[in-house]
């Protein structure tokens, strides 16, 4: 095992703990927006997809990369927008504007 992998594992395990700490504090009423929001975050693989799509190494890789970019972008853009749409609906009382 190389140092990079070990560091990666360290980071992964610690981030899992951060995730557990942070997510357990999310109240059940927000679990659906949590899921769609976290979902959008998992679209971070767009970062890898962009590099593959733009590397110009071979046609096959460009095609795979572009497919990945499209899928990840749908995941990211759709995920954050729909989460915002849901969160806009949550209100403490009925004062304020009606409907969405």
């Amino acid at each position: 095992m190389t140092g990079t992998l070990l560091v990666g594992i360290y980071v992964f395990v610690l981030a899992m703990f951060v995730g557990f700490e942070v997510i357990t504090k999310v109240p059940p009423t927000l679990h659906t927006p949590l899921m769609s929001g976290a979902n959008a975050i998992s679209g971070i693989s767009i970062v890898g997809a962009l590099v593959v799509a733009g590397s110009g190494e071979s046609q096959l890789l460009t095609v795979l990369g572009v497919i990945a970019v499209v899928m990840a972008t749908i995941n990211v853009v759709g995920g954050f927008l729909v989460t915002d749409r849901m969160l806009r609906m949550f209100r403490r009382d009925r004062e304020g504007e009606e409907g969405s």
Binding site: V11, P27, S42, V52, M71, V76, D84
Partner: protein
Amino acid sequence: MTSDLFIWLAYLLSAVLFIVGLTRLSSPETARTGNAIAALGMLLAVVATLMDRAIIDFTWIVVGLLAGSATGLVMARTVKMTAMPQMVAVFNGFGGAASGLVAASEYLARGSSAAPLHMDLGISIMAGTLIGGVTFSGSLVAFGKLQGLVTERAATYPLQKTFNFLLAAAAIAASVYLILSPLDTRGYLALAVLALILGVLVVIPIGGADMPVVVALLNSYSGLAASAAGFVLSNNALIISGALVGASGLILTNIMCRAMNRSLANVLFGAFGGGTPAVAAGAAGGEKVANPIDAEDCAMILGYARSVVFVPGYGLAVAQAQHRLRELGDLLKARGVEVKYAIHPVAGRMPGHMNVLLAEANVPYTELYEIEDINPELPNTDVAVVVGANDVVNPAARDDPDSPIAGMPIVEVDRARHCVILKRSLSPGFAGIDNELFYLPNTRMFFGSAEKSLADLVHEVKTL
């Protein structure tokens, strides 16, 4: 070198913004800015990546980004709140697929050089391929089930578990082989196909009522797939983000399982809701009489009550009657009745789904109560009104240790002074078991579709 440094710092900042954003989801007050902060983190990561010198051609990137953004925008804008689980399932699938494709590209990019993969990279690539593939096809099946395209029933066949186990073992064996041998495009494709098949077979035997668990679990997988892609690229931003999502999905999976008092293994392999009609038949043997009630009498009970607790279930959402329910609640509040809504964790089709549906109908979240908060209040509640829910109010879960749903936490509506149940018929719920609640002396059945019954009640309460 300076630009590399900038990119890595930008990634670090992105990861921090994700964590800050998620932290702000701890309250509905701050959640919206939290989501915006996380989105900002993502934008930063994308912009930083575009500065990577490895990217030499932007044409297709721009096309991909535009196509994806437009599609995502339209989906997010047009999706109905009832269809949210399907959409999250699709997004999960896309995220998993993107991570899988990144891993695949890294494998295929080696060209036909004879040397086997470096062990670390090999493990990461195979893990990314397997998790990404399973997430993608599994999510599509979950989408199909939620959308009604694939049978909601648990599809089972003989030796299912054995077969799935063998398939998983084959996938792992293939991974080991691919790590140890030189570039083998066909072998790699076979592994990818194996992962896709595995995803389908793992989700297909799970019944419709268990979809909340599956969607939460796939959510977790999509995070782990992103982490795996992060290991492939040695990119800590991906590893961190993926781990956060993985943790989130695991927590939600666990909450959903507890809400049904079942283990994850039981949900995944138990094929619930597939073979329980025998139980239903046995329980329905005795002569029991339910007491019906009409709109006028029901409106009287509600209108002159001091406190009313509504217990909405998925049937309410199917009937799109949440707006009517809110209308009735408002009328009662205007009469001085104390109105609360009791939300069971599995009331909707995904964690927190019912809360979103009621928020859409303009019910303030301060009126929504979790079971542990509402149950102590129910003995002092005048009327509990159950709309489109069944198993989650079945007292058998508490009283009958032999019941298939024994031990599942329930909303104890049977302890309220009166209980009114809005329902089409006396038919059993998802679990396929009879509900003795319908025959209790303080229970009244209000037969009819939820939308029509609530409209009638609104009308009658107005004329009180």
